[in-house]
């Protein structure tokens, strides 16, 4: 089945630089919090302490190279999705963050030079399936390599757990 129901995302950009590591997304000291809504209050606490208060549903995290390096903690993409972040665009991702984001159903797109074209607060229209971004303020279009079929299937299902259940059901 083609993943046609992955809706486009329209939201405001939150701009970050290169090498945003997992402790900047969510510090290790909050990992024992069992409630994600409590934990999410501390997302990006070090680089942008206002983030969790001001982020709105479908806002978009935009970053430079190697976003999410360091720990394997799945809590990093999870707190972003908890706060309603619609997708993450970066020039490149650390492999663990990338895999974890897809596993929990948070779309992540590699868009070359994205931080050169996007300013903080700009409104972006993102087509997840086509891996394409339109910047409302400038009209500029950016694009990256589309996600693989398997990754789109996982995202469409809502994450690896839902995908696993779907695959299991279909084999019955």
């Amino acid at each position: 089945m083609m993943s046609t129901s992955l809706k486009p995302v329209r939201g405001r950009a939150w701009l970050f630089g290169d090498n945003v590591d997992t402790d900047q997304i969510i510090q290790g000291r909050y990992l024992t919090l069992l409630d994600y809504s409590e934990m999410a209050k501390h997302a990006f606490e070090i680089p942008r302490p206002e983030f969790s208060r001001n982020v709105r549903k479908n806002d978009i995290v935009v970053a430079g190279n190697n976003f999410g390096g360091g720990s394997s903690r799945e809590e990093a993409p999870r707190v972003l999705s908890q706060l309603g972040v619609g997708c993450v665009l970066a020039q490149s991702f650390a492999r663990l963050f990338y895999r974890n984001a897809i596993n929990i159903g948070l779309p992540v797109l590699m868009i070359p030079n994205v931080t050169h074209s996007v300013n903080d607060g700009m409104t972006l229209d993102v087509n997840i399936i086509k891996s394409a971004v339109i910047i409302k303020e400038t009209g500029e279009t950016l694009s990256g390599q589309p996600l693989s079929r398997m990754v789109l299937d996982i995202l469409q299902a809502g994450g690896a757990v839902a995908w696993f259940r779907k695959v299991k059901e279909s084999r019955k």
Binding site: N19, Q24, R29, T32, I46, G69, G70, R95, G159, V161
Partner: protein
């Protein structure tokens, strides 16, 4: 190596394979995240309770009521599922206790719910870190998908000078590669230096390959590894794995330590890839010195620290905290007299835990504090307050710094 764990038995770089896991290690993330996911998945029984190791190590013993609750969940899960291998808060750090228990051998595919699971590459195993969802899927099925990584080859020859450790070497390599220089790739270490290295020194190097973004770090099985595995797991059958003769590498790096002697390296805040020769930061005041973690809390690390601290005192403006990598290390250090040396010098010696390394407990940094640490990461806020700073170094450099109160080349204290 991944190929031998697939049905097809073959695989090449870039390919996605479905591989069978030999061992899954999970720590507190089991109780906090994996168990809820298993419930959501409707998994009642895990795939194989003999192929799972559960460790309570990050906040051991519990540092607050939340970590205590996570530990309770882990203990209950181990009982309910009949899991064979369990380490409660009295064992030590997962990456140290797993090899101590003989649970890794050459050729294995080992996954851990922790990014430093690359450590087992020192034992000629393919090992990498994944997170909660992947761990839950492995617990349910025993399988996991991987993209076969491209390999980089690093050939090292020559001697490490006195007081210069494998930590200095890997800090130099990570700094040369950059924090994502090996992203999605595996790093293979070859050459006589690695061939003659102790198990502990090899573990330090593979441990930190993830700081360059690597999926895994791999070494050939040397005599020390063969002896380790034979002693720790005498009944196990295994065959060392070597790269294909025509193996393709995306990068080929040669390091000659005799031609270019290595200095002690210190990684400046806030990146492990920010390594500089110690001479560039000598004289900088520190508040705390920490020796411990899965990177450098093993017996040889405590031995070199004890050698430096013997008959000396920790500087009055510094606290030195030493946390052994495991309870076994603790006992060995006790018998060797190192703990006596540390306490006489005025150090704090703690039980084994991840503790201060993750800003968990037993050495959390306050605002503006500076720590020199034998751990693996110096991200902003990693060991405590966002305004604290961490300098990464070898246990020798940390011990010398603790004595002098300022960052010090350990060769000055020979």
């Amino acid at each position: 190596m991944l190929a031998t764990h697939t049905e097809k038995g073959k695989a090449s770089a870039g390919e996605i394979v479905d591989a069978s896991i030999d061992l899954l290690m999970v720590h507190e993330v089991l109780g906090s995240r994996i168990i809820p996911i298993l419930k959501e998945m409707g998994v009642k029984k895990i795939w194989d309770p003999t192929k799972v190791l559960v460790v309570n190590d990050h906040w051991a013993p519990a540092s607050d009521t939340q970590s205590a609750e996570i530990h309770i969940r882990n203990r209950q899960f181990v009982k309910e599922q009949g899991i064979t291998h369990f380490c409660d808060v009295n064992c030590g750090i997962c990456h140290q206790v797993l090899p101590e228990m003989g649970l890794v051998k050459p050729g294995d595919l080992v996954i851990g719910s922790d990014s430093h699971s690359t450590t087992y590459g020192a034992f000629n195993a393919f090992s990498t870190g994944l997170a909660a969802t992947d761990s839950a899927l492995i617990l349910a099925t025993g399988k996991c998908w991987f993209r076969v990584p491209e390999s980089m080859k690093i050939r090292i020859k020559g001697q490490l000078p006195e007081m210069v450790m494998s930590k200095d070497l890997i800090l130099k390599i990570v700094s040369d590669l950059g924090v994502n220089g090996a992203n999605y790739r595996s790093i293979e270490f070859h050459g006589p230096t690695v061939e003659s290295m102790s198990v502990a020194s090899r573990m330090t190097m593979c441990n930190m390959t993830v700081e360059a973004g690597a999926k895994c770090g791999l070494m050939m099985a040397n005599d020390a590894v063969k002896e380790w595995v034979t002693t720790r797991n005498p009944s196990a059958q295994w065959t060392p794995v070597a790269p294909d003769k025509d193996a393709h590498y995306v990068a080929d790096i040669d390091i000659d330590l005799d031609a270019e002697p290595l200095d002690p390296i210190v990684a400046l805040p806030h990146s492990p890839a920010n390594g500089k020769p110690v001479s560039e930061v000598e004289g900088l005041h520190v508040d705390q010195a920490f020796i411990g973690s899965c990177t450098n809390g093993r017996l040889e690390d405590l031995e070199i620290a004890a050698r430096i601290l013997k008959g000396r005192k920790v500087h009055q403006d510094v606290r030195l905290i030493i946390t052994p990598a495991s309870q076994e290390t603790y006992v060995d250090a006790l018998r060797a007299g190192y703990i006596d040396t540390f306490l006489s010098a005025g150090a704090v010696f703690t039980n084994s835990t991840c503790g201060a390394c993750i800003g968990g407990h037993l050495g959390v940094l306050g605002p503006g504090e500076i720590c020199i640490s034998s751990t693996n990461r110096n991200f902003r806020g990693r060991m405590g307050h966002p305004d604290s700073k961490v300098y990464l170094a070898s246990p020798a450099t940390v011990a010398a710094t603790a004595v002098k109160g300022v960052i010090t080349d350990p060769r000055r204290l020979i």
